[in-house]
Symmetry: C2
Subunit: 203 residues, 2 copies
């Protein structure tokens, strides 16, 4: 029996640096499989079906929702986005690891679904530092920043749902911690047992 | 509240390379606390009370056993060796991590005790390779090697009791995996929660 793929779910309040961390992880681990989401939004120039997203009609998306085809899904600004159970299941059986960069609500849905995953939450070093980072972007209005701070406080309050907490104070340290989590989980007994030489015949 | 120290228990069949791995880990992590065992054997030249061992009489040792003072203990060639619960508890409360390099029986005793630890088992890449390594030492008789191979097969069969399995095929990779386990466990939510800034007030 081959080792099964592991699903790593990584989430964070907006501004904590999750996306930058994930980009760095993916550059270190090129064999990580991308999870291609389903969406009802229109394809943009340069995008490709099955590469950027699976582009589907609202009708198809709604049918998939009613069939329980999504491990998590959400509607954002009138467009729907979802991660299909089949995508995750197929990767697991193929022995391919996935790093899923996802918002708090999506992670919470995955957590209560029957999907087996390793849940990582990225924290800012402090709320003050998070505010500084959001203001430093110079792209959001005062109201949007206040809303993000409110959301962040609420999300952080529920961080105990996650398996691991990575404080993104020093970027390289945060990346090292996420990579350590992935390496450690890959040698967890429950995952590795099926991949050991037969002669070891573990009970 | 300060983060509690973590107890790492590392075990392996004789010849798998556990002791060399532990030495390398300790050189990378000088802040790891040494667990000083109790023993009834006589102090040797150059040894120091409380540094190499706590040297006690057989009477004291037996009393400690009957009081349940040991998290694990064993009699080897007429001498007793034991790890006191108080040693582990004191390190935990002080926030000091311990790496306990211990035989299979000792690890099994710790596992069924109420001690909270991270259990790592080091495997040889194969039984053939283990035999080669034992024979390569040129220090043990044929009978001793056969006994070690029998023990190894039995111990490996029960490796599923451990949390992590590290296959010592490439030494540097095995060390990297043990270090990753230690870093990952240090940011496990259940351990880190008490060490986060108060303002995060996790529920």
């Amino acid at each position: 029996m081959k080792r099964e793929g592991v699903l790593y779910v990584i989430s964070a309040p907006s501004g904590a640096g999750k996306t930058t961390i994930c980009k760095m992880i993916k550059s270190h681990e090129p064999e990580l499989r991308q999870s291609i989401s389903y969406t009802t939004r229109a394809m943009r120039a340069g995008e490709e079906e099955g590469v950027d997203y699976h582009f589907v009609t609202r009708e198809t998306f709604d049918r998939m929702v009613s069939e329980g085809a999504f491990a998590e899904w959400a509607e954002v600004h009138g467009n729907c986005y979802g991660t299909a159970r089949a995508t995750l299941e197929e990767a697991r059986l193929a022995g391919a690891d996935i790093l899923l960069d996802i918002d708090f609500q999506g992670a919470a849905q995955l957590r209560i679904s029957d999907v087996d995953g390793v849940f990582i939450f990225v924290l800012p070093p402090s709320l003050n530092e998070l505010r500084k980072r959001l203001e430093g972007r110079n792209t959001e209005s005062h109201d949007v920043i206040e809303q993000r701070m409110t959301n962040a406080t609420e999300e952080i309050a529920h961080a105990a749902q996650f398996d691991y907490l990575v404080v993104n104070d020093v970027f390289d340290k945060a990346v090292e911690e996420v990579r350590a989590i992935m390496l450690a989980e890959s040698v967890r007994t429950s995952r590795l047992m099926s991949d050991l030489p037969k002669e070891f015949s573990l009970k």
